[in-house]
């Protein structure tokens, strides 16, 4: 069964450093998402992406964050200057259809630790 993959599984970085989290969505999916989950808390929407553009973003997704689909398969989340509070699990997700219906398929996540 197709699945979303993410690399790395764990990233440790120093405060102020840039990180890039990578995702490979399911190949025939057109809508891509990033979510964040601070340890023990709920899953929080960061950004949605379609047709090489950001569709929606949350208040969390400020100027320090950016997303890109550099080629036909990868979908990346960049944090320019990491802060301690960016430490969290970051999940990529994708789905086939637009709108507010349909299952989102989540990747296994990247645990980001900012020291």
């Amino acid at each position: 069964e197709p699945e979303v993959t993410q690399t790395p599984s764990h990233q440790v970085t120093q405060m102020g450093q840039e990180v890039i989290l990578r995702c490979v969505p399911i190949s025939n999916h057109l809508y891509f998402y990033w979510y964040r989950q601070i340890l023990g808390q709920k899953v929080e929407f960061l950004v949605s992406f379609y047709n090489n553009e950001i569709s929606e973003k949350s208040e969390i997704f400020d100027d320090q964050f950016s997303v890109e689909r550099p080629d036909g398969s990868n979908f990346t989340l960049k944090i320019r200057s990491t802060k301690l509070e960016d430490s969290a699990m970051y999940f990529c997700a994708s789905k086939t259809n637009s709108g507010r219906t349909g299952e989102q398929y989540f990747g296994p996540g990247t645990r980001l630790t900012v020291t």
Partner: protein, 111 residues
């Protein structure tokens, strides 16, 4: 902002007991989705409910969407250790396209 709350936050049950988690939104939802997250894992889609008052069953799991489309519940009959995890409801409050997750209910099942 739009809130999706769940109660209880935690639930410990003995294997074989029933379990229910309740989800409440501050605004009307076009649909409600339920996800399960195993410890150390990622959210996995369980089901989507769209119609007011809709009830769906998956084996021992029963999902309900309220008449006003602002609340939902998940009921598990005769829990098993494989049911352990955190159950999240999720929806699109306020007419936007941001999938908003509930606060989650963590279920622990003891033998």
């Amino acid at each position: 902002g739009q809130q999706v709350m769940q109660i209880p936050q935690y639930q410990h049950v003995q294997e074989g007991e029933d379990f229910t988690t309740y989800c409440n939104s501050s605004t009307t939802l076009s649909n409600i989705q339920w996800y399960k997250q195993r410890p150390g894992g990622h959210p996995v889609f369980l089901i989507q409910l769209v119609k007011s008052g809709e009830v769906k069953k998956q084996k021992r799991l029963t999902f309900q969407f309220g008449e006003a489309k602002k609340n939902s519940s998940l009921h598990i009959t005769a829990t098993q250790t494989t049911d352990v995890g955190t159950y999240f409801c999720a929806g699109y409050p306020g007419g936007g396209n941001k999938l908003t997750f509930g606060t989650g209910t963590q279920l622990k099942v003891e033998l």
